[in-house]
Amino acid sequence: MNAAYEFVVGPLAWIAGAIFVLGSIYRLVSMYALAVKKDYSSLPYMDLKYSLRSIIHWLNPFGTAGWKASPWTAAVTFIFHICLIITPLFLLGHAVLLETFHGIEWPTISDGLADGLTMLVIAGCIFFIIRRATVDKLKYITSGMDWFVIFLVLATFLTGFAAYHQWLNYQFILILHILAGEAMLASIPFTRLSHMIFWVFIRGYMGSEFGKVRHAKDW
């Protein structure tokens, strides 16, 4: 069990991190190259000011037609994403690993807060799963990939939660948690989770077209 633990926090963590970082860079660079080659009727219209205008408006959960039409989904989406990013980044347990292995000091949030945020992420996953399984318009469009990404997130946070509370076999759950987290990280560039790295550009493009050419709101 110890050897397995050593492996998942050692080499496997490096591999997952490398896939995430290098994979993201590769995706961004190759996508840009493709846009230059094939989307030149769109690319020159990109505009920083109007990209930001669009992004800022869509970061307001009450500020757009789409969010307003589905307020519950909007609320859960925001809470889910905020917690999803903050919790792993500033969790004490993660910071300890960083310090132990690399001597890097890292800001942290309290365990109590992290516990709460984790529950919110799990609740968010459950909301999305129920929504996807029951709402007609979602059932119509859902594919395997949609289930994969949401269960990957759920698995990571559920095992993290269980490990923190030392449910079942602590070390086994912990290894599962690390594996799930690494799988999630490595999946980001190559699955639907890639919206994390591409969102600002897609949003920015729409914002640019609407701002610069169409002189209209895109929210």
């Binding site: 989307d39 469009i141 897609i202």
Partner: protein, 443 residues
């Protein structure tokens, strides 16, 4: 591959049927691959990959809202039934599947882009549908009626098979008519160096000639330096853009811009048309390699607004009947003329009532995007697909609806009739003509 949705509501169309009858799966795959590889890139790839299938776009679509939230009408579902299947099967799809793709892309999406206000990612579903149309066009699977207009564009450079001599003839006829009212009125042809090239759409000389009459009165009575060409290139409309025939779109737009340049005008002012504006301002110019239009292009609303601001257009009387304004997608969501439109309306109409939603969020007329041009077989698709518009019109409680767009007129007319809203439909120029000062008029 077949899921409930379009397969359950197939509509017979000679153009679509004859098109698919000629196809084999191998031919389809070859063509699709060529379009995807040659004409699409990062945009389509990212849209397909990052769409989170959240369904938020559904509420943005009038078809979805009008069909009691039938999931198969949601914008994302239209992509689900077309492009995603195409991508998933690497283009290896059946002729029957292509029939469904064409029916969805040409008749169940107006490419109004209202759903853009609902997608958190910023995915342009109108664009994805336009790629589906492009594929269908390349495969020769296009509804008969709209394909006929595209043929007309190709053969005559106008949408309505107006022959070269019929065009100046129609103008002369309107000039003659108008001279009864305003004896010094001229419709100047081929005036090199005029300020304005006034351009219209094919249907105007064909069956909406009163619009040419009214525009001539406006130009004459506000003292404009203007002209119209006597040659092909006068028509600014563009159904080829909507069939996916971008080669013909390019030819039409080039003829139009070339005509403006030949006449050495300062700007093109176009009548109250939405899709033509999209073609000149946003699509055709890009196809020809212009980042923006090479000659300044002005929609009628912007022009009326300018005339009012400069004091050239004077108001003789107000139009007191309560009115509401329908915001056409291509000039509001496509060009941001909502404030100018309101200022012009309010200048003439003291009793103006907003419909809700309005401005960028207004519901589509359901005729645009070439849907009305697909003809009688699909009339009920757009009338039933826009119940929500009828309800919106009825809620205003006013007797007059102003729609400054030809397609919107066609669509709203059918909706007003089918849902018995009892409203009268007007162009802005109808009201301006009725209420403006006409110093040279004899009556």
């Amino acid at each position: 591959m077949s899921i409930p949705g379009i397969r359950d509501r197939k509509i017979e169309d000679v153009g679509l049927q004859a098109g698919v009858d000629r196809l084999t799966e191998d031919q389809i795959q070859k063509t699709i691959k060529k379009v995807l590889k040659g004409e699409t890139g990062a945009k389509l790839k990212l849209y397909a990959e990052t769409c989170m299938r959240c369904g938020l776009c559904a509420e943005g679509c009038h078809y979805y809202m009008s069909h009691d939230k039938d999931p198969s009408y949601a914008p994302v579902s239209k992509v689900r039934q077309t492009m995603w299947e195409i991508l998933r099967h690497n283009g290896k799809v059946s002729p029957e599947f292509i029939y469904g793709c064409a029916q969805i892309a040409y008749t169940e999406c107006n490419m109004c882009k209202r759903c853009a206000h609902y997608c958190p990612l910023g995915i342009d579903i109108g664009y994805i549908i336009s790629v589906v149309r492009r594929i269908c066009h390349k495969l020769g699977v296009v509804p008969l009626y709209i394909q006929d207009t595209a043929h007309s564009h190709s053969a005559t450079m106008n949408q309505m098979w107006v022959k070269d001599d019929e065009w100046p003839d129609a103008l002369q006829w309107q000039e003659d008519e108008a001279r009864d009212e305003i004896p010094n009125l001229r419709i100047p042809l081929e005036v090199e160096g005029a300020d304005i090239f006034y351009s219209v759409i094919g249907p105007e000389p064909k069956f909406r000639t009163q619009l040419i009459y009214q525009a001539a009165v406006l130009m004459n009575e506000t003292g404009q330096s203007w002209t119209m060409p006597a040659t092909p290139g006068w028509d600014n409309s563009d159904m080829a853009m909507y069939t996916g025939d971008y080669e013909v779109m390019g030819r039409i737009k080039r003829a139009h811009f070339d005509t403006a340049m030949r006449l050495k005008v300062k700007r093109i002012v176009m009548g109250e048309c939405g899709h033509a504006f999209r073609s000149i301002y946003d699509m055709g110019n890009r196809w020809l390699g212009w980042k923006m239009h090479p000659v300044r292009v002005m929609h009628a609303i912007e022009f009326y607004h300018e005339l009012l601001e400069k004091g050239q257009l004077k108001i003789a009387k107000t139009f007191d009947t309560p009115v509401t304004l329908h915001d056409p997608c291509n000039i509001i969501r496509g060009r941001g003329l909502m404030d100018q439109a309101r200022e012009v309306v309010k200048a003439f109409c003291p009793n103006f009532v907003e419909m809700t939603p309005n401005r960028e969020h207004n519901y589509c007329c359901c005729a645009g995007g070439g849907v009305i041009n697909c003809g009688p077989p699909f009339k009920n698709v757009r009338v039933e697909g826009n119940k929500v518009k009828a309800e919106q019109l009825i809620r205003t409680g006013v007797p007059v609806v102003i729609a400054p767009c030809h397609n919107c007129h066609g669509g709203l007319e059918d909706i007003i009739h089918a849902y018995k809203t009892g409203q009268e439909l007007k162009f802005l120029i109808d009201i301006i003509y009725e209420c403006m000062e006409k110093p040279d008029a004899v009556e």
